[in-house]
């Protein structure tokens, strides 16, 4: 696993919550494609990381699911619950603060 993927895995739940805040409901494959498109292919979510994250968020009560038959097969859509909406705001804000701090540390000028 390269460092990019490690960073991505750590913030995967926040990415999912953010995407579902923007779009009312999404299915697994759609999420992987959306991330790829938004980052111009720089970031790719592996299936092995995405689905456990989705299932965990569902079990925590932050996501709810609805299955529909599309093109003759079942498709499971995920959307945010009421708790999921408030948790999304809080987690996005936490990640934002962490990134700001990280940015500060990375641009630190060496002491003369």
């Amino acid at each position: 696993m390269n460092s990019n993927q490690q960073l991505l895995k750590g913030s995967l739940s926040v990415i999912i919550l953010k995407l579902l805040e923007e779009q009312e409901r999404m299915y697994g494959y759609e999420i992987t494609q959306k991330v790829k498109a938004l980052t111009a292919g720089q970031m790719a979510i592996t299936e092995g990381a995405l689905y456990p994250a989705l299932h965990k968020l569902e079990a925590e009560g932050l996501l709810t699911t609805e299955t529909q038959v599309v093109e003759g097969r079942a498709r499971k859509y995920y959307s945010l619950t009421k708790d999921g909406h408030s948790e999304a705001v809080s987690r996005i804000s936490e990640l934002g603060i962490m990134l700001e701090n990280l940015q500060r540390l990375l641009t630190l000028k060496p002491a003369i």
């Binding site: 697994g28 494959y29 592996t46 689905y51 456990p52 299932h55 529909q68 038959v69 003759g72 097969r73």
Partner: protein, 221 residues
């Protein structure tokens, strides 16, 4: 590019036979993922087998898929317990608190007025019918759980089922107690037993109905 029925069958065989997956819900979700991924790759000229192998790698191969299934069942069981707790608690807050109070009053009243109500022929027949129907549902529920892996091997679920079975045994044992002992039992005890039984059954039923309705909502697409 839409996949052919043969290609969809190949995906199903890949997941069930070659990768040993059993959970129906997970298989359905992964089939859709494979189908979407393969369709996109076919559109760019990649052969079917190569596209399927590429997606399989993304899941971490067979080992990754089996681990995912194990984790899925564990998280599902946790989620179900959380939901069951939420439903049970809802019977102690408005507006459902009204149902709990009304039900308690009815059972208490019946027990005070007719202490031997449970032993009458009519009540016995009605209870036997309800018990028969509920055990039919329970049997179907067990079959469904076994098929989908819903809470399978989950200790908490087993404990709850065991508790419910034990509780039912105590509840129905009352029917066989001598009148003398039955008349000496405080109505509050019977009311408590009745209300716990009612709340547990109503909550479990609601949980199963929610699970079922989430599983498949057919739409015209």
């Amino acid at each position: 590019m839409a996949l052919t029925p043969d290609q969809l069958t190949a995906i199903d065989r890949h997941l069930r036979k070659e990768n040993w997956l059993l959970n129906e819900d997970l298989i359905a979700e992964l089939t859709d993922h494979y189908a979407n991924g393969i369709a996109d790759q076919l559109a760019t000229g990649v052969p079917f087998e190569l596209a399927m192998s590429d997606i399989h790698k993304g899941f971490g191969g067979r080992k990754g898929l089996l681990k995912m299934e194990e984790d899925y069942q564990a998280t599902q069981a946790k989620g179900n317990m959380r939901l069951l707790r939420t439903i049970l608690v809802s019977y102690f807050s408005m507006p459902r608190l009204g149902i709990t109070i009304l039900f308690s009053l009815v059972i208490y009243g019946l027990n005070v007025m007719f202490p031997l109500l449970l032993k009458s022929d009519y009540t016995g027949f009605a209870l036997a019918t309800i018990a028969f129907i509920s055990y039919c549902f329970a049997f179907r529920r067990l079959l469904y759980w076994n098929k989908t892996g819903f809470g399978r091997n989950d200790l908490a679920n087993l404990v709850l089922q065991g508790f419910n079975a034990l509780f039912l045994s105590f509840f129905y044992l009352r029917l066989f107690l001598p009148d003398k002992i039955l008349l000496n039992l405080h109505p509050a005890l019977t009311t408590l037993l009745g209300i716990v039984f009612f709340l547990y059954e109503a909550s479990t039923l609601e949980l199963l109905m929610q699970h079922k309705s989430n599983r498949l909502k057919r739409v015209k697409s």
